[in-house]
Point group: C2
Chain length 218, copies 2
Amino acid sequence: MCNMPRVAAPAVRTALVEAAAEMLAGRVAVTARSLADRAGTSTTAVYTHFGGMPGLWRAVRQEGFTRLAGRLAEVPRTDDAVHDLAALGAAYVAAAHASPFLYRAMFDAAADLEDPAAADASFSRLVEAAERARQAGRFSADADPAAVATRFWAAGHGLTMLVLTDVLPPEASLSHGPELAVAVCVAAGDDLARCRESVLRGWAPTLPGGPIGPPAQG
Amino acid sequence: MCNMPRVAAPAVRTALVEAAAEMLAGRVAVTARSLADRAGTSTTAVYTHFGGMPGLWRAVRQEGFTRLAGRLAEVPRTDDAVHDLAALGAAYVAAAHASPFLYRAMFDAAADLEDPAAADASFSRLVEAAERARQAGRFSADADPAAVATRFWAAGHGLTMLVLTDVLPPEASLSHGPELAVAVCVAAGDDLARCRESVLRGWAPTLPGGPIGPPAQG
DNA sequence: CATCGTACCGTAACAGTGTTACATAACAAG
DNA sequence: CTTGTTATGTAACACTGTTACGGTACGATG
């Protein structure tokens, strides 16, 4: 008797999340029906796999944070921790600008994730870089790495959100991002001139007009 | 012949905006029907006065920025421009925490306002304070007041948004707000010790556990 | 004061949304 | 193959924003 039921096909789940991310990137409204059409299934699949549209959005946010964590994981660790901190900030801003609608959806309810591991991993990379900067003597001994990372993140998030909502022009990310990074790091104890040099090198791969400006959306 | 029509009653318009703000504060969903019920009219009024729900949201955002400008206008100008800048930041954060849902609605599409004067006025107060700090020798001569004000705002906005979306705990506003203010002002050229003193005095009215924590919502 | 024209306002309908009951089909176990 | 369990598709539900239609209040005109 005790038969195991038909196994849930995980392909449908990933197809739905992928379709949602694509539609988000294409500025097309993500409704249950249009999503089901694009994913090649029916609206019921949304309920069997996510329990409803809110559950789908949670999965989309989760996917967004996972992708972000992947981007940040690619940023290498060097001897200059302040450079690394700036490079992480640049990669963060670049990821947000590469998928602006996904980024906005992520922070619509960022606190509501079923698995915060990806978000924690991203933040931990900031904390780790701040900790290394402290141990290297760049930051003052009583500078709490978690606090510095939080301020670094808050400043970058605010600048990013103001740009993505068209309150500030796109250039603002490049003109104010490094300056804010320098401000937070110098406040943490770093030497101004040395900090400037590290931060500018950390932002360098992004600066040449890199992956920020283009019309790639999502 | 050429008769002037019945004059549009502005009372209905304000009643609708007020009702929307109240419902936003009460965490109750703002739909065309529930809004009309609460305002004592019908859904049609939304279309005659705002052209539709998006128009209503624009009016609500406009009202939010007007209230914010009023709050900032109450912040006095003193001899210490850095103190004033910090006080403006504290008032800004306090206003956001006093009406969190209104603040989030404001920045859902902050760039889409029919009259940006209120938003410009708020930002101009920051620029003016930065300009006075520069003229007083607190900021370096080549520090662009508008750029400093933008960074100040971006940092405060990011911190505020992360708190309002429950990503950071409520205490984060008080623990990181002043620190970010100091970071931006010192980066603009101010002396660290002097800046700390000015900023802490500027935040003082908010610090005692003031209007940040309470359950007043909106 | 009577009249008229304007445009606000309320009712009822429309299209579209998320959601769910039901029947069907697909799969794993005995 | 039979059986039990569950994913799926269809069609309906309640709700949303929106709009056509009459009724009505209002101000200007004669």
